[in-house]
């Protein structure tokens, strides 16, 4: 489509040719007039073109005065476009500035990285927590944050779980780092949060629980001792017998809770890896089964199925307390007519210890919270049955320390199944053969 100014320009050109023709007819020398006037028109256009070019090269040109006709329209059009463009640019940069100002003010360090892990942008907190400065833009981020934990994380495929490192710039600070995809082209945002306080609080809490449990232990031992001798005292007045028995029972429970709390805090505080002893799983489970069979109230059948002779490597006492907690739970919640099955099997994914029962089951919304301390799915019953409320928490901690996971499946009224999955590297081939040779 031809725009209007072009039509006008064409019209003017034709008019000019007509004028030249008329002048040529009147004064003679048609060619001279034609060439002369066209040359003048061309010169005028060229002059205007030159002015336009100069005007465009100015960054912030005002609309020039004294430009008429076609050129005036061209100028006005360009001017309108330019001011619209400028307006939009201003608005966009205001939005970006606003965004950057808000991220800069965030207390969490954030750094934008490109696909090669080079630093593109960072906020103020990044300077404080990572020691990355503005001048470091373009450097690779692992050149500055050199903690091997972070370097491995940066290169790993699975970056969902954050990692904890020591701050390279702020002495004593601990950081939690996380990479999230950011925009296209493989850009990533590195987020760092100062978790020094959280770690300290956690330590304070742990120490408090450990100390409190420890301090409670000795008075409880004294109380228990006297209660024991009271219950076995034949001269105890009959009216007192029942209350003293109850007291002794509850004091015993309290002692069990304190012992469990101490076990838990030992497990939590244990920075050291669990021992890598060879644990005979079959023997361990058989022992646990025997303990369960000796309980007064127990389901009719407690079965042990060993499908593998493999051993586990780990700390035997820890594993014992974990498994026996699982088994005693199953026994506790299964009626006398039900059955409990303990199993040990190995496949290519590792070793699996299952404890399945035909008990009352666990409501689905309680399952994720089962391993919390003192969490009770069934508030009424448990107090009577005398558990400490810490058994599953201990089991979970022990399993975590051994790189294992606890899986809980349950259906109300049908029963529950607790499975401990051990990774293949924790397995050791059974040593029955070796024993034979030694014998």
């Amino acid at each position: 489509m031809v725009s209007r100014p072009a039509f006008i320009a064409l019209g003017r050109l034709l008019m000019l040719i007509a004028v030249a023709a008329v002048a040529g007819l009147v004064f003679g020398g048609l060619l001279f007039w034609l060439v002369g006037l066209l040359a003048a028109a061309l010169a005028w256009q060229l002059y205007n073109l030159f002015r336009l070019e100069r005007w465009l090269s100015l960054r912030e040109g005002k609309l020039p005065r004294g430009v008429f006709g076609v050129w005036g329209q061209v100028y006005a059009g360009i001017y309108r476009l330019r001011s619209k463009h400028r307006e939009r640019k201003k608005r966009l940069s205001r939005v970006i500035k606003e965004f950057r100002r808000s991220t800069a003010a965030l207390p969490d360090a954030s750094v934008v990285l490109n696909a090669d892990h080079e630093i593109i942008w960072l906020n103020r907190a990044a300077t404080e927590l990572f020691g990355i400065r503005k001048a470091d833009r373009g450097l690779r981020v692992d050149n500055i944050i050199r903690d091997p934990v972070f370097v491995d994380y940066l290169r790993s495929v699975d970056q969902d779980a954050p990692v904890e490192i020591r701050s390279p710039s702020k002495p004593g600070a601990r950081l939690s780092l996380r990479l999230v995809p950011y925009g296209g082209e493989g850009q990533q945002m590195l987020l760092g949060r100062d978790i020094t306080d959280r770690i300290r609080l956690e330590k304070v809490r742990r120490d408090f629980v450990a100390n409190a449990s420890h301090e409670l232990r000795s008075p409880l031992t004294v109380i228990n001792g006297y209660l024991d001798s009271l219950t076995s005292d034949p001269e105890l007045p009959g009216a007192w017998r029942q209350p003293v028995c109850d007291m002794s029972h509850q004091a015993g429970r309290m002692q069990a809770i304190v012992e469990d709390l101490l076990t838990l805090s030992r497990l939590e505080a244990g920075a050291k890896k669990p021992a890598r002893d060879r644990v005979d799983v079959g023997g361990l489970l058989a022992m646990i089964r025997k303990d369960a069979l000796s309980l007064p109230e127990r389901p009719g059948t407690i079965e042990l199925r060993l499908d593998s002779e493999a051993d586990l490597t780990g700390a035997e006492n820890e594993l014992y307390s974990a498994f026996s907690n699982l088994v005693s739970n199953a026994v506790k919640y299964t009626p006398a007519t039900g059955r409990v099955e303990i199993g040990w099997s190995v496949d290519e994914r590792g070793g699996h210890i299952t404890v399945a029962d035909t008990g009352k089951g666990i409501p689905a919304d309680a399952i994720p919270r089962l391993t919390e301390r003192f969490y009770r799915a069934d508030k009424g019953r448990d107090r009577v049955s005398g558990g400490t409320g810490l058994g599953l928490a201990i089991a979970k901690h022990v399993l975590e320390r051994h790189g294992a996971t606890l899986e809980i499946e349950s259906e109300l009224g049908q029963g529950s199944r607790f499975t401990c999955h051990f990774p293949p590297e924790r397995l050791a081939p059974g040593d029955n053969v070796v024993n034979l040779q030694q014998a």
Partner: protein, 233 residues
């Protein structure tokens, strides 16, 4: 030619190779720094297991040195770098040697830590070693930062710190002599502690070397053995 093209090579791959080498060197520095931190921690906490872990993990540092060394030789053979690129490669080759030595010193500290863990710990719980260790670790960190940023000023400032490290080492030495004279039964333990201090002091020297390579790489000027004369004058 446009200005920003000047700093680049026509072969983008060459740039990437150089950058990869530098990143590997810095990664090695990170591992060495962690080894040093754990070794000092093992000593201060009396954790013999941690000390043994440091000794065991030293092979990681060694294998990294070999890998980077090979990569550098390959680049020299294939690309025949000149001027700044050659200085960079040379500085990297030298840096990894120093980093590997730092790793060895950390291994030594780890070994001594697991040996000392069996002995009675001194009352101040190795406070002066902890302090010296902190200084040296900071130095190593700053030296690696200077290498990452190619910042000769920061490198010079870091190299200056070595004097404080030397002074601290002297102080530990004097203290150790007093301790040994007071209680000859402690000589064995104090000697081991002194070896740790010696290792830390050596690590400081290696960090200074890395700083000097940074200056050499950026300015093409060899400042080795100069700073002491200047310092004395």
């Amino acid at each position: 030619m446009r200005k920003e093209e000047l700093g680049h090579h026509y072969s983008r791959q060459f740039d990437e190779e150089l950058e990869t080498v530098r990143t590997s060197v810095l990664e090695m520095g990170g591992i060495v720094g962690e080894q040093l931190r754990l070794a000092i921690r093992a000593l201060v906490k009396g954790d013999s297991e941690l000390g043994e872990k440091v000794v065991y993990d030293d092979h990681k540092v060694n294998s990294m040195e070999v890998a980077i060394d090979e990569e550098c030789s390959r680049i020299i053979a294939r690309r025949q770098p000149t001027a700044g690129d050659l200085r960079m490669i040379m500085a990297m080759i030298k840096s990894i040697t120093d980093l590997e030595r730092i790793g060895d010193e950390a291994e030594k500290i780890g070994f001594l830590a697991s040996r000392l863990a069996a002995e009675k710990r001194p009352e101040n719980r190795y406070r002066e070693i902890k302090h010296l260790g902190k200084m040296v670790r900071e130095m190593l960190n700053l030296a690696l930062d200077a290498l990452a940023r190619l910042d000769p000023e920061a490198a010079m400032a870091t190299a200056e710190r070595d004097r404080q490290v030397d002074e601290e080492y002297e102080a530990i030495m004097r203290q150790a002599i007093t301790l040994m004279m007071e209680d000859p039964r402690s000589i064995r333990r104090v000697l081991d502690t002194l070896w740790v201090a010696r290792a830390l002091e050596r690590i400081g020297d290696h960090a200074v070397n890395i700083c000097e390579y940074v200056v050499y790489m950026v300015h093409g000027k060899d400042i080795r053995h100069l700073s002491y004369e200047e310092g004395a004058a």
